[in-house]
Each structure stands twice: as structure tokens, then as C-alpha cells.
Symmetry: D2
Subunit: 247 residues, 4 copies
């Protein structure tokens, strides 16, 4: 079983009528539900208001892939928890970051850049697949229309991604690297831009399929309890080899 934790800030859905209508039980519940349809996924959720944001050492140690959505409380998010998540990613935990999560402390710590972009409400997006050989693109059409979406536009200040799986076209005249993969330490990261809370984007089957693909791609190849550490090698690898292979 792949153990998935879906984390959501869960603020908009409790305070804005429009959002509540779309995600009455929160974005996390919506995502957990469609992920839970997959037999090999075991899904739980956590939200901002829980103690340690619900991302305790124990939860993370038992998570293969963390799916993360946040927006309003970027700065209020605990530095310690952000650092803890970073350490688990470096130790191999997969991370799927959605929409405004690009600016989470977690992502800024992991990627190091400003993570800034240009944005505007009330646009329309067309996602083009620009890396059809990527497992995240499996079964996804050449392009996907999202009738209503917040615009995120270039220049997006990220390190060069391993792959730009999706590139977004916006009716308002901008482009965006909307689906990007990164590897940090032993952890795989998939950033996926769609998902403004005011539009029912996570109800779209094709978006759900992309997120499912993303979760599967992020499953650790190797998982450790902690990030790698510096290691003193003495005697040398050659000395060890020669001592055991020569008469």
C-alpha cells in the first residue's frame, strides 16, 4: 500500500460561501476521496488547525506521499513543521504540491528560490502536455481545458525543473510552467498549478487523474528515517576492495 496524507489549510471552505459550495467538506476530503478510489492507495488527511498542523513526526514517518494545498496562512505555518516536512522529503517522502502551495514555506525551503510569479483572478487555462513520456502524463490528452482558473504567469522563479510536464496557456495572455517535477535529496516533488479554491477544478476527472499519476510517480524509490549525512570513509573504498580481493 502507498500511504498518502492529504493536507489542506481548510480555511476558505469554512469562511467563503462560494468555496464551501464547491468543497463542502474541504479540498482535502475531495482529494482524499478520489485518491481513495485507487486500490493501492491508503489515504488519510490532515489540516492546519490540528496540533503541529497534523504533520507530526509520526504521521510523516508513516507517509509515502504528502499532497499539500495551502493559501492564506503561508506565514502562519510553523517553521518547525515546514523544516520537518523538508527533512522527510530529503529522506525520500514524495510531495505533491498544489496551486498556491508553490509559496509555502516547505517549497521555499526545499527549492531555495523566491518561488514568486505573476497572478490574476478570473482567467481560463489550457494545459498542454510538454513531456508526454513522463509517467504523470500517462493517459492524459494533449491538452486540457480548465474553464475557470486563477492565472499564474511567468516568470516563475523556480530552479530549472527536472521536467515541465504541463505548460499552461491563459486566455488573459500569459504562459506558465504548470506541472513541474523536481528531485531533492531522496524525495520526488510534483508541483501542479491548477486548483484555485473558487472553481471546481478538483472535481474534473482529468485533473484527478493527473494528481493520481503524480502521487504514484512520487512514491519513494528509497526511503530513510532521516536525510543523508556526511560520512567519513576510512579506510578508502580501494583499500577495502583490495584487501578482500587480492591474495
Amino acid at each position: 500500500m502507498i500511504r498518502v496524507t492529504v493536507w489542506n489549510e481548510f480555511q476558505h471552505e469554512r469562511t467563503q460561501e462560494k468555496v464551501k459550495e464547491i468543497y463542502p467538506d474541504g479540498i482535502h476530503t475531495c482529494i482524499a476521496k478520489f485518491l481513495g478510489q485507487e486500490e493501492e492507495l491508503s489515504v488519510r488527511t490532515a489540516v492546519f488547525d490540528e496540533k503541529e498542523h497534523g504533520l507530526t513526526e509520526e504521521v510523516l514517518a508513516n507517509t509515502d506521499v504528502l499532497v499539500f494545498w495551502n493559501h492564506m496562512l503561508q506565514e502562519e505555518f510553523s517553521d518547525d513543521v515546514a523544516e520537518r516536512v523538508r527533512r522527510h522529503v530529503l529522506a525520500g517522502m514524495g510531495l505533491v504540491v498544489l496551486h498556491s502551495g508553490h509559496y509555502s514555506k516547505i517549497m521555499r525551503k526545499l527549492l531555495g528560490t523566491s518561488m514568486t510569479l505573476r497572478w490574476r483572478h478570473g482567467d481560463r487555462e489550457r494545459l498542454f502536455c510538454t513531456c508526454p513520456t513522463h509517467p504523470i502524463a500517462q493517459g492524459i490528452p494533449a491538452w486540457v481545458d480548465i474553464p475557470e482558473e486563477e492565472m499564474y504567469g511567468e516568470f516563475f522563479d523556480i530552479p530549472k525543473p527536472d521536467d515541465v510536464v504541463f505548460t499552461g496557456w491563459f486566455a488573459g495572455g500569459e504562459v506558465f510552467r504548470s506541472g513541474c517535477t523536481f528531485t531533492r535529496g531522496l524525495g520526488k516533488i510534483f508541483y501542479f498549478q491548477p486548483g484555485h479554491e473558487e472553481y471546481p477544478i478538483y472535481h474534473m476527472p482529468v485533473i484527478q487523474k493527473i494528481i493520481k499519476n503524480g502521487v504514484r510517480w512520487c512514491v519513494p524509490v528509497v526511503r530513510r528515517p532521516a536525510p543523508l549525512d556526511n560520512a567519513w570513509v576510512n579506510p578508502s573504498t580501494e583499500e577495502v576492495y583490495l584487501s578482500s580481493h587480492q591474495k
Copy 2:
């Protein structure tokens, strides 16, 4: 003029006889001297013991490329100064990080990974050029022998570099990505592994040439006073365009 600041921890050279003999005025003075031979470079130095480590806002604002060597005082380095350097790199300042600087707070903040590796004293290295088209490789032979060097070995926990300009072979049986480039925000970073303080590596003309090439490559293409920020785009780029291009 390219304004270069050479920063050195400057501890070993004052406490260890062996190091003092090789670098009587400190590694920074040695590096500043050979860089200063280049007409287009204007070089100054700074060391750990200065106030704010000599890396004040004013110094960094007037630095095009920072060359950085440290080792013993990784954790004692000011968090605030490390963050300040990170911000200037994101804003365009070039950064040449030497040897044990891989584990500086600056590099860990900028690159996000553990930056760990395997190591051992008393080895010998052969640097192979694995990206001969890179400006940093200009005029450098296909390989360079370093008769005495500390071993740094894989796995080196870094994000995938833009280019691996040099790959190191060690007599003790390991390999290392010894010369790596990264881009973060608007800043270019060149990490170059050679330079253990107990060996006269920065006196080698070919090593000096690589560092000179590295400095030139790191010169900003664009430089800002601060990293990029999120920007609200309203009206849209299309609206602006259409309003000025249609009757």
C-alpha cells in the same frame, strides 16, 4: 569592472602551521591576488571575524560575484548573513563556492538539500572535464592532476546541476561531481570542490584559471536590489495589448 568579493573563514591559516606556510596571508589573499591580475576584475576581501562577517548589505549590494571558502565554523556563521547572501544571489549576485563551502548555510539555504557527501583526508584527485563547451572549461585541459587533495565522494546530495563541468577521480577509489553549476533566482552559482587548506591547490595555475573562468561566468546577466516578488497583473496582459493595438 566586475566587482568581486573574496570571503574566507580565515581560521586554519592562523592556527595551523602547515596551513600558514601555504597561505601565510590567508586563502582569501591568495585568491584575491590571482584574481586581481585580471584587468576587468576589481577585488576585495572579507573574513569571518569582521562585523557581520564583512558581508554587510552595502558590501553585497556592491558585489557582482562573491567567492566563498569556509570550513570549521559552518554552524557559527550568522543565519541572518547567510539569508542576506541568499537574497543577493536570488537578486542576481554570482556565487563561487569552494571546497567545504558546499556545506555552508548559504548553500544549504540556496539549494535546499542536505549537501552531504563522503570524505577522507589524504587522497589524490584527477579532474576530468565533462562539459568542454562550458565557458568555465575554456582553456582547461581534458584532465588536471591534483597531487594531494582531500577526497570528496559520491553520493553528493545536491539538486541536479545545470552542468557538471568537472568530474573528479580519486586514487582512493571514488568519484565526485567536482565542478557544478546551478542557477537560483537571477544568480549563477559555481561550486568547485578542490581546495583543502593543507595543500597548495590555489597556487596551481590551472586551478586559478578555472576559478577565474568561474567568476566571469557568474557575472550577473540581470541584477536587482532584491529577489523577484509576486506581482498582481491587472488588467491582463492581453487587455493591455489589445487596448493599445486595436482601433
Copy 3:
């Protein structure tokens, strides 16, 4: 089932006693045998002396991953068959190229560079994993010793790989990008350097595991009968969208 075709030049094993002893039925039979132990792999073989080298349109159309070993008859290999293989790779067929296959017409056509390197018989190699998050590295130790191997050394004139999964250290003093991945068109390519015919390298379980991992990684995400073609888009994607989404 993943349909694998293992192709071998099959010359050395019939003419050189030393090679015949190691691979009495040919390298292809050895590889087919260990791949065949995997339940999800359906394996067949083909060799140079067959008509069209055994790589007919029909064989390739029914191959998910082609494993390829050649050496002596690089120039004698049919241009037409090389082009046919290239087209199937661009259309999605996976390709695992072993050892001296780096210089096959297939690889030169697909990658475009000279594919040249430095080489010498009678060396010893240590493979370091330099991308532990890659599926091909799954279950492989941090390094693998190959007691006898032909040396392949840098500079290796290849396009920048997607990932350098393994980097080789040679006792004779060189390094090599020994395990590299590429994507061309819809096809995934894994080049793996070990496997000189005079040493029993493909009998090593860890090498077998790497090749099995390589085959699995090369399985097409999407497979077409032919490479992609230019496509005239008229009316535009916007016109199509707007005509169906507006009243």
C-alpha cells in the same frame, strides 16, 4: 506483458574461445534467460545474421523494449534497419543499449553526436550510483565493483543525459558516465556501459538487476505506430473551444 527483444551481434561468442566459454549460447541468450525470470517480461532474441538482422517491421512493432549489444560490425549494420529502429524509438519503443552499442548507428542517429570516448582493455571498474532516486537504481547498492572490465573514459561525446544514474571509476585512472538515460520522441533510452564480452559481467546478479530495472523503466508511456508528424491546426484551438463553450 512487457514484450522484450534482446538483440546481439553474436560474433565474438562464435569465434573467440574465451568469449564462448563465458557465453556459450551468446550474450543474447544469457540476457534473455535472466530477463525471462521476471513474470511480467516476455522475451525473444534476434541476432545480426538473421534477415534484416531479425529486426523486421513486424518484430519491432511487437516490441516494447529492445535490448541491444553490438561491437564488431558497427558499420556493417544496415542503415535501413538502424533507421527503422530509430523510428520505432521515436514512436515509443524503449531501448536499452549495452556497452559498445554506444557507437551503433542506432545511437548515433538517435543522439546526433559523435558518441566517441576514450577506451582501453583490461581495467577494473567501480560503478557509483549518482541518482539514487531513479527507478533504475532501485535496490542497487551505493557502489558496485566489476573486477574486470574494459575501460571507457571521458570525455564521452553524448548530449546531456536526462540522468546520470551511474558514474564509473576505473582503476586505470578515468571516470565515465556509465549509466545514462535519454528521451527521444516518445521513446526512453537507457545506455549502460558495463559488459565487455571477455568478462562474465552479465552473469553478475547486480548487473542483471540493473538491466531488469532499465527494461522496466523503458516501457513506453505512450506507443504509436510511427513517430509524431507535423500537424496543421485549423481552425485554431481557441476557435474550437469557444465555439463549443459559448452560447
Copy 4:
């Protein structure tokens, strides 16, 4: 001096009135003229109708950067000349390929993929800079509007570029990797999509600046008379080193 050869098919400008009005002396003359304004560039031109298309061994041996525009006569272009250009690129010659040159035999040979894309006449493009640290982006605004341009759209079947310097937004609803860099052998390649012959795109100062930047970036770091060749290394690099460094 940087020796630049500007090559043009030079067919449209002699047969289509609309094109003749925009480029009365041919696209090559227009490009040669604005490049010639740069002091360090020494520019000549060549066209399809010349013997060997004007790209003789001697011309190429004396060219640092080749700028290439073609369209109608892709298949009529000599295989031998295409192969000759490929060899000079692998030997270090820079190559700036414009617009429909993506589908030239030269590019297909060098990059190996189908080089196909989606296209449509009569669109409008906005180029976004998606790699502001690249020398080709120096002095170029965050985006550039091209009022009339042929649409080139994704999926563009190219190998993963070293950098995607510009990403194009098209009013008709598509995106494109409009400015891409590649390195093949010792040669640097800049592919730049703008420049349909029916619109005065090469008269735009900002487009001229991008092409000038591209030419400068493509200047060889190392230039050889021929591509690299396989090299037999005997005695080993270690033997040579040890024989000269030990008593």
C-alpha cells in the same frame, strides 16, 4: 572577430510579392545587415542556389556561427551538405536556427527526433522570457509582442533543451518552446521560432537583439577541424601519471 555566415533558402523572396516587399534583398541580407552593425561580427551570406548551397568545406571551416533560415526546400537540401554542417557543429561551430529551420535535415540529424510540431498561419505571438539569467536574454524585456506570426504549437518533438529561454503564447490558444538551446558535441545550438517570411519580424529591433545575443552565445568555446574521435588510451592515465610523479 566572430565570423558569421547567414544562410537563407531565398525562394519566397523571389516568388511571392508580399515577401519581396518585406525582404527585397532576401532574409539573409536583412539579417546580415543588422548583425553587421556589431563591431565584433564579420558577416557573410550564402543561399540555397549556390554550389553546395554555398556551404563548402572551406566556408564552414571559416565560420564560427552559422545562422540558418529555410522552409520550402527541406527535402531538396543536399544530404551531404547537411552532414557536413552537422560535423562542423560537432566540431564546435555555433548554429542559430530560425523558424522553419526546426525541420531542416541539419536539425533532424543533430537532434535525432522527428522535430515535428503543430502549426497554423495567421496568428499573433507573445514571447515570454522563461530563463532571464541566460546570456541570450540579456537586455530583453519580460515579454515581447509579435503582432503577426505563424503559430507553432506544442507538442514540439525535440530532445529536452538545455534551456528554454523563451516560451511563446499564441492568441489562437497554443504555447510553444520558442527559444531553446542545445549543445551537441562541441557546438552550441540556439533554435528561435519567430520569423515567418510574410511578416516583418526580422525588422523588429528586439528580435534583432535576441538573434545577436544568440550568435554571441553560440561562439565556440573550443573549435576543432573535425568532431571528436574514439581514442585508445594505452598506457593508462594512472600509469602515465605515476611514472612521472614517483621516484
